[in-house]
Subunit: 526 residues, 2 copies
């Protein structure tokens, strides 16, 4: 049941005066529940509870953490239809998407549960002593990853489940042993509260310390700002716009003790179409890309916003086909009137740039908050000179850049800001374009061959991140079990008595994990 | 031969007007060579060369990088007595220390050579495709670590070899595949130039691209500032003071594209002496700690600047013995008159704090630039209330804090800033003090049992780093082969053709490295 209150640890609390509602973009009306923004007192209480919980939670075993994470997954599934209904009412997204995203969220939680239950993720490394080494004896040193402390997670507008309350950031932080305080996204506060209740239930059922999780409502920026500034907060996970992500990064960097902010932000996801492809299979590519550009109303951070090809008849044909295909697709609803408004104004801003040509702009009447997809095209020279054209238009929008030469194509790629993905569409010709591939690799976190960038597989080999501004720290991924590394630090014990060591580092290897002992990977005891 | 010029790639260049000399603190005179600070033009040229070199160097094989790193080690050894002489003339340190540090530097280079030659450090992770998965097929995704780009390394005053020109940061960055631009430390510009010449010779002999390494002279902060602001610089390694490290961090955080700064900064390295110990072996501990506090004239970042014990006769006896032992030790020379001056003024500032008692202060006449060691003591309450007492006094200085209770001891530890190390001195009593241990672990990067914090073993299990301000990013170590992780980012290939993949990710595993294939660690082919 939705109460509109915050979770300060396991306590529901709503002491504030700032209230707000969510919005149903399909019906174009406000939803009924009233949410109360967290007060400064509630924020501070949540962080203090988290700092206290950390003293216990940091030492909770991998097996217990796995039980907790699996219980969260179970409790989310127990929310059943209520969750799906509230999700749809707050996003305008269809039921199938809601269920798919729930499946992904549950899957993520379980994959982190498996990871910490198995236990080798701590990267235990042991170098035993050499007492008779000359000129000085060598000490026994043992290292493993330990959690950073309380983590603040910002809910994302476009993934109310998979990147929000119990999404990838929360799952990774809890798996690491870090308590989590979620700054709930105002557009889906109800979905957030339901998922928060699932986490709180799971925490109680599995005897986790009070404060291991809190959920704070917020209608604007103030709650987030207070959280990031709080000295007991030790890291931040964020998915959203470059402006907001950068503001949080700046705030965290200015603290007396700066803390890591892992913000996954904008991306236009360049797609390079090599010449043979455009000769051989423009039609199927046009269909595939019309579909990828409009998938989820274009509201994915991996949406292909930029297509780059060599100028000529083949590219012209492709552009025509893409334009024809995309207007065949029925427009769909955006997440919120504000997101719809931003789409229309960003699209208008792009279209207003000199020498940009609109080749498709869905012009039949559509329902309120439904996005009209658009395709534009521009000369390589113009694109290179005008960085306004490099900005993301969040929604079903893409731009085709027509390059004079491969050299110009390379220059365009090299001058792009950092991106999450880069796609190469090629027909047995890629070897000839090593400079293009090399330039692309230098600007992105993931390259895709003959596919589409939309669709982010949750698996250990996934990198969801990339050079700034795709993310604020390209050294980490936001998706996949390795995202746990964002929230841990290595820690060494020197000549520490075996009985006082954590199980992961004890001689007898009671957890039977894989460790590096004197340079060798092994499951054996020392 | 020392020319006083910069290395802009392999070219010696000295176009500037700002000149300076190094100083021999033992003789208290300037050394003869004249160094020319790099100009803005030279700085920009070095970075541009590095960015161009990166296009080639990033794809150089692990085996070739190993050859390069080993050649650097060989060339450093070839400098032989000239290097040792110049080192001693610029630091006041004895020949034995110079040779020891050279051995460590060469050892570090060779350990990174071994790491990249073996190759598994890239953490190759492969998830093969499942074309018939429902509801959508699973793509083939493969991940590995790739280098960030040009790295700027700041030489450290107190380790002219091991943490400077060809020190740990440079070795880690080159091993990762990142070109390096060193901002030479002005106090040992001659040592820096000699080592730079060794790196340049090694680069030429092993056919590395021009620009893979540059060495820039600088007398003040300007060269460093320009380097950190340059858009083609992608990461920074620094060892030095909190003030300088924080300034660089702030500068990097304010860039349009913020970059990671790994700054290893100050630490007072708390040592906790539990009650039994003080009863049982105060005398030997006093000797051990008098020696650790004065080792290298106290100019180590792991110097034990803070000793914490329970107030009482046993602690009083220990303090007396420590005071007696430390004045028996002959004072030694500091690195530079400025460092000597800072030591004396920081010591005076600490001593001037109310309620601080000086129990030892070497008062016999000493030579110029020789540091007079000192021991002070203070009540727990006073220490807690006065954070000036928490500041590092870089040199042979330590403070003994006398706690009223174990609870106060825990509060003192919890209120410390982040530290590189924490030491526990205990006699079969540690289990009773789990709160103390837990508090200590939360503030440091490495704990030591019944030892001294000085002496940083270079091995895979070492963590040299810790919560801020011990370092700006506790998620990484500055020492040991894992320090390579500071300068790489994970990168994914999706459905990429086998022949276009880097060798590390090819089906046939031509490098025979250990990879995670579909969740299993293996050396097998896919």
């Amino acid at each position: 049941m939705i109460t509109g209150k915050n979770y300060i640890g396991k306590q529901r609390s709503g002491k504030g005066n700032v209230i707000y509602k969510t919005f149903n973009p399909q019906l174009n009306i406000e939803n009924k529940p009233i949410y109360t923004e967290a007060t400064l007192e509630e924020i501070n209480k949540a962080v203090t509870l988290a700092a206290n919980a950390f003293k216990i939670f940091r030492a909770v075993s991998g097996e217990q953490k796995a039980t907790f994470l699996n219980a969260i997954a179970d409790e989310i599934l127990n929310l059943d239809d209520e969750l799906i209904k509230v999700y749809c009412s707050e996003t305008g997204l269809p039921e199938g998407r809601a269920k798919g995203e729930r499946g992904r969220t549950v899957g993520q939680l379980r994959s982190f549960a498996d990871l910490v239950k198995e236990g080798s993720w701590v990267e235990a490394t042991i170098d035993t002593s050499i007492p008779d080494r000359e000129p000085i004896p060598k000490a026994d040193i043992r290292k493993m990853n330990i959690p950073l402390g309380p983590v603040v997670v910002f809910g994302a507008s476009n993934f109310p489940l998979a990147y929000s309350t119990a999404g990838g950031d929360t799952a990774a932080a809890l798996a690491a042993g870090c308590p989590v305080i979620v700054k709930s996204h105002p557009m889906h506060a109800g979905t957030g509260e339901l998922v928060a209740s699932a986490i709180i239930n799971a925490a109680e059922k599995t005897n986790m310390p009070n404060g291991v999780f809190s959920n704070l409502n917020s209608s604007g920026i103030e709650v987030g700002v207070q959280l990031v500034k709080h000295p007991d907060v030790k890291a931040v996970g964020f998915t959203g716009s470059i402006r907001a992500g950068r503001a949080l990064y700046d705030l965290a960097a200015k603290r007396k003790e700066p803390i890591p902010v892992f913000a996954e932000m904008g991306s236009i996801n360049p797609v390079i179409m090599l010449p043979n492809v455009l000769k051989n299979r423009s039609e199927s590519l046009a269909k595939t890309y019309a579909s990828s550009i409009t998938l989820g109303t274009g509201q994915f951070c991996t949406n292909p916003g930029l297509i780059i090809g060599l100028k000529g008849n083949d590219l012209t044909n492709f552009i025509t086909m893409l334009a024809n295909e995309i207007v065949k697709i029925e427009p769909s609803c955006m997440l919120h009137p504000n997101i719809y408004g931003a789409y229309e104004s960003n699209k208008a801003k792009a279209i207003a740039q000199p020498e940009l040509r609109v080749v498709a702009n869905y012009d039949t009447d559509v329902k309120e908050n439904y996005a009209r997809q658009a395709i534009t095209t521009v000369e390589g020279k113009t694109f290179l000179a005008n960085t306004t054209l490099h900005q993301e238009v969040f929604g079903p929008f893409s731009m085709v850049v027509q390059c004079e030469s491969i050299k110009q194509m390379e220059a365009i790629i090299s001058n792009l800001e950092g991106q999450l993905t880069g796609t190469l569409i090629a027909d047995d010709e890629a070897e000839k374009y090593s400079n293009i591939i090399s330039a692309l690799q230098n600007r992105v976190g993931r390259v895709i061959y003959n596919g589409v960038p939309t669709g982010v597989e949750v698996c250990p080999s996934m990198v969801h991140g990339g050079p700034y501004p795709a993310s604020t720290d390209s050294r980490f991924t936001a998706v996949g079990v390795d995202s746990i590394k964002r929230f841990v630090r290595p820690f060494s014990f020197q000549d520490w008595p075996n009985e006082l060591l954590p199980d992961e580092l004890k001689n007898e290897n009671p957890l039977n994990i894989t460790r590096i002992v004197n340079g060798k990977l092994t499951n054996q005891k020392v």
